[in-house]
């Protein structure tokens, strides 16, 4: 009995040495068994991308909330089935059930597995898979087809116009008023102010503004009227100088051209507005043209011009600024009316043809919309919605 008592510490120590590891192993087994298996459903070259990327899609596991959830997934990769799988990425748990592996070599074969971070549980092997760049973005098929159709339509109408077909364009009062406004300024002996907006020189609205500037500058050259063009963007200033110089040359008065009247102010919105307002109040131009891209400064400019007593013609494709211009200007070119200006002013059949194409394009959109609404509302089909579901990137 005493011997037994003497041996008690040894028995106790032995029990610690033997039983605890067994419990630990059993416990580990218990945790493992509570973590669901991982299965890679698909591994593929990432679609519609520039290459160097592979997408892995796995079955999203549902965890037993009473046990500790792993912090994330580890993504393992090997070059061949015989090589070791190395951990290449960590994806936090709770994220999507797919992941894009970036910055890998195009054309090289890879195999993938996925596992829970800090555990030995890993999925099946998926692969082989190779990354490659795609030559067409399938998400943009609709946009591509519409672009081709619109280009074909435009070219068709251009050919029609070249053969002498007649094209009608409705009167646009804002453009008709340009000549009168310049005439008024000339009679009053005051300058005219042309503001090409806050857009870059490459913006379509700014390009449209240049076409009107060309027309205006030809008349000011003929009438010997001073034209002031304060610019927001330096590249706009350079193009505007070129347009006005060319117009004065065309009008046979290159001697009257003064490039100091077409100048850069600043690329800050409200300091620019303050400067242009200052010009309106100091030089008192008799006609103000606000043509191009405008934002919150539109009303400040137009109201100051109104107060200075100038006749004002505005035009922008910024829908939200149109009401401000309508409220404070004599004439406003809305949206695509601004783009139509060059065709309207020149009456060039080629330019008119593009306008016609635009009209037909718009008719097409309206017909498509009506059919789409009827099909979706009456027949409950989402065919048109899916057809127009454009993936812009």
């Amino acid at each position: 009995m005493l011997d037994g008592i003497k041996n008690l510490p040894i028995v106790f120590l032995l029990s610690i040495i033997i039983i605890f590891p067994i419990q630990a192993i059993a416990g580990e087994g218990q945790t493992k068994s509570k973590l669901p298996n991982l299965t890679i459903e698909k591994v593929m070259d990432t679609p519609n991308d520039h290459g160097r990327s592979i997408t892995i899609i796995w079955k999203k596991p549902s965890f037993d909330s009473s046990f500790a959830i792993p912090t994330g997934y580890k993504i393992l990769r090997a070059d061949s089935l015989r090589s070791n799988f190395d951990s290449v990425e960590f994806v936090p748990i709770g994220k999507s059930k797919s992941f894009d592996i970036q910055n890998i070599e195009d054309g090289k074969t890879y195999y993938y597995r996925i596992g829970y971070a800090n555990t030995e549980i890993i999925s099946n092997i998926a692969g082989p898979v190779q990354a490659k760049g795609n030559w067409f973005h399938t998400g943009k098929t609709t946009t591509f087809v519409v672009t081709i159709l619109f280009c074909a339509l435009t070219l068709g109408i251009l050919i029609f116009a070249r053969r002498g077909g007649e094209l009608y364009i409705r009167p646009i009062s804002g453009i008709n008023a340009i000549d009168d406004a310049i005439g008024r300024a000339t009679e009053m002996g005051k300058p005219i102010l042309f503001v090409p907006g806050l857009g870059a020189a490459s913006d379509v609205a700014t390009i449209a503004a240049f076409t009107i500037l060309e027309h205006i500058a030809k008349i000011t050259a003929e009438y010997k009227t001073r034209i002031i063009v304060p610019c927001y963007a330096p590249e706009t200033m350079i193009v505007a100088q070129e347009v006005v110089r060319a117009s004065y040359l065309d009008a046979g008065r290159p001697d009257l051209y003064n490039d100091k009247e077409i100048f850069f102010i600043t690329q800050e919105q409200f300091p620019y507005t303050a400067a242009v307002n200052g010009i309106m109040l100091r030089d008192r131009p008799a006609a103000n043209f606000f043509l191009g891209k405008f934002y919150a400064e539109s009303l400040m400019l137009a109201e100051t011009g109104f107060e200075a007593g100038a006749i004002q013609i505005a035009g922008t494709d910024e829908a939200i600024q149109i009401p401000f211009f309508v409220a404070a200007c004599d004439y406003t070119l809305m949206g695509e009316e601004l783009y139509a200006a060059s065709a309207y002013l020149s009456k060039d059949p080629m330019k008119l043809a593009t306008l016609k194409a635009e009209d037909w394009g718009k008719a097409g959109v309206i017909i498509f919309l009506i059919i789409g609404v009827v099909v979706a509302s009456v027949f409950g089909s989402d065919f048109f919605i899916r057809l127009l579901d454009v993936n812009v990137m």
Binding site: F90, I320, M393
Partner: protein, 276 residues
Amino acid sequence: MGIFEKIIKLDRRIIFLVIFLSVIFPLIFKVNIPINITPEVRNVYNLIENLPEGSVIVVPCEYAPDTMAELEPMLYAVLRHCWEKNLRVVACGFYVTGVTLIEQEIKYMAKQMNKKYGKDYIFLGYRPYPAAVINSMGEDFRQSFPTDYYGTPLDSLPMMRGVKNFNDTKLVLTINATSGVDYWVLFGHERYGFPLAIGVTAVMAADYYHYLNSGQIVGIIGGLKGAAEYESLVHHKGLATMGMSIQSFVHLVIVLFIIIGNIAYFVIRKRKGINR
């Protein structure tokens, strides 16, 4: 010239003076008007409210001092909400003259809420060409911002461990006074699929409802009114709530001017016997 002719040709300086007084009046007399919450603001609030503690949200701020009157209270209310919920904030700026302002505002709010830089928030600073930056942030924040505004590498900031790109964030809420909102919708949400909310000036708000209707954005905080609604939701009345009584009063005065102008117009028309 009769009284009505005078009203019709009212000197705009009188209008300016009345508007100025309408701004001053509620400031002196502290008029409190209850604020109704619009669904588009509540959507943003609910989304943040339901985020788990520790989630990362990206707050790109694109505005300068000119629009700070409207957008600063908005940023404060949003940051207060995020930090009350112990969310982590990644802020950045894409408007060159606004970076200094935004950095100051975030620092001020963090001090108010006892939040630590690098642990609860970081400020990435400014990069030009927002579209390109959004694209690269979608791959890895470190591509465009290897360091934060103060030159600290992102990897050495505790908050950024495990935060690689938009996949690791729960929401992008851009507070914006520029056309950069479109970039966040087209290059950000469309490509990377993160939930996007916007806070914009009142004059811009009407322009973005089509994105709300199409589900491309989850909510809009529009102008000072939107900021005041958010302040109400987070139960902390600040500058926007104070501004609401001013804005209400000024709107009312403008409507009164319109009514008076129309009365004068109709009286003169009747006198002249002009019948449509």
